[in-house]
Point group: C2
Chain length 281, copies 2
């Protein structure tokens, strides 16, 4: 059985950077914690906990120490609270997410109504949105939702970094249809698109796909969906321990990919376990 | 034979305004002329000539008098020249075209590369373009042409007022694909779309179409194309004198529409002539 690992499997730039910053802080500071999970990988979160870095849901019970801001970013008010309480802040917000936050603030201050293309329930989006005037920022999943919005003369548009280009396009087209000014900052990070493209190609060439990543990771779940459509024999796992030898009986080629928040050590474990399964067949 | 006139046949807002301004100026000032034809209607141009208002191609031979700026607008340098020569200026540029010119100037001054969606040969577009820094303004007919352009971080987009929404959409989509900032002022005037939509509906209901307007009028020619596609018995005329009774033999319903630069008196003449033809059958 041949095992093919996708070139861009695993950590994207922002997640890699956030994880490094968190592990560095863990070694340096006492009383360190992350505000929400640093990335959507329970294994990384657990590793940090083992090093004394816990997760808090909010800052209400925190009076001192070091707070690490996760890669997805947090609400502007939470960052303000951390500064007000004079906590040490390690801001591991992905620079691409930070840009989207900054654009929302700029557009909102400049008098635009701001449309954020994304998933309203995702923490990244909730963070981005919080940088604008709440009464004039809207989260829209697609162009259809733009039609429900009130009339607006100056429309600003940014996107959740992991959105598809088609969603951004459909929102912008509906904005254009309304006339007036439409000012778009394309904040989509192409790491997601490139990873999905590679997974698509791999799923077409192989007869089984393994997708590694947190069950709470939206981008990993989306990868799984994309692979399943092309290759029904697709398995979403978090760790090597979940692999079942029975899945690979009669399989000639297995493709492996991993979400943006999946650390290299977990991918390596999976590859090693696949090697074992292969040898025992 | 029933004759149905399209509701929005003839003068649009900008053309009506320009024509009124020109006729007013003709009565008031000595030595009055228009810089290029005031609108794309040879009959209106002729009427003004009869009132002593000639057409000049440029200002090189002009030293004094009143210059009327046509509805399509002129190049920024021509307007400058008129002011430098201390000519009296009656600016009949369509306010919607003026807006497009102003947006190009604003975007260009603010450091954007500016894309003008339109027909590079049209005088309106040549005027609009002249308001930006020549080295950083591009005329594009569609999204395909955007792909040929050099890399640019801040893209400004405006449209010729008579462009189709689909052209604007395809240009903006290609700009978005390049990433960075895309700032669009949708300067399309919907008079054109509304007139085309009405002509489409009329061509479907009738068994003959008459389109009235200057043979040099792009929007009239486009109306003729649209009608011909649905109704091969479509005739483009400039005046009532061109109507041939033979065209209407066996016709039950004839639809009449007219381009944006066709004056009411010409439409009325055509309707009267159609009535005559009808009575003589």
């Amino acid at each position: 059985m041949e095992v093919i690992l996708a070139k861009r499997a695993g950590f994207c730039f922002g997640v890699k950077r956030a994880t490094q910053m968190a592990f560095e802080a863990a070694g340096k500071h006492q009383k360190t914690f992350t505000l929400g999970p640093i990335i959507h990988s329970p294994q990384v979160v657990k590793k940090l906990e083992d090093m004394g870095v816990g997760v808090v849901k909010d800052l209400s019970g925190v009076q001192d120490g070091t707070v690490i801001i996760r890669s997805h970013g947090v609400m502007a008010s939470e960052l303000d609270e951390a500064h007000r309480k004079q906590l040490e802040v390690v801001d591991a917000t992905c620079p691409f997410v930070k840009k989207a936050q900054d654009h929302v603030k700029y557009l909102s201050d400049a008098g635009y109504e701001v449309l954020v293309v994304g998933d309203a329930d995702h923490p990244e989006v909730q963070g981005i949105v919080s940088y604008g005037d709440a009464s004039r920022v809207y989260v829209v999943a697609s162009g259809d939702e733009v039609r429900q919005l009130p009339k607006m003369a100056k429309m600003g548009v940014v996107a959740q970094t992991t959105q598809s280009f088609d969603n951004l396009k459909s929102v912008v087209t509906e904005c254009l249809r309304r006339g007036g000014e439409v000012r778009v900052f394309n904040t989509i990070c192409d790491a997601t698109a490139v990873r999905q493209q590679e997974a698509t190609e791999l799923a077409q060439q192989t007869d089984c796909m393994v997708v590694i990543g947190g069950f709470n990771s939206a981008n990993t779940r989306r990868l799984t969906e994309i692979c399943t459509e092309l290759q029904p024999k697709t398995y979403h796992i978090e760790t090597a321990a979940e692999l079942r030898p029975a899945w690979f009986v009669g399989v000639n080629k297995v493709g492996v990919t991993a979400g943006a928040s999946t650390p290299k050590w977990i991918i390596d474990d999976v590859l090693a376990r696949l090697e074992e399964i292969n040898n025992s067949h």
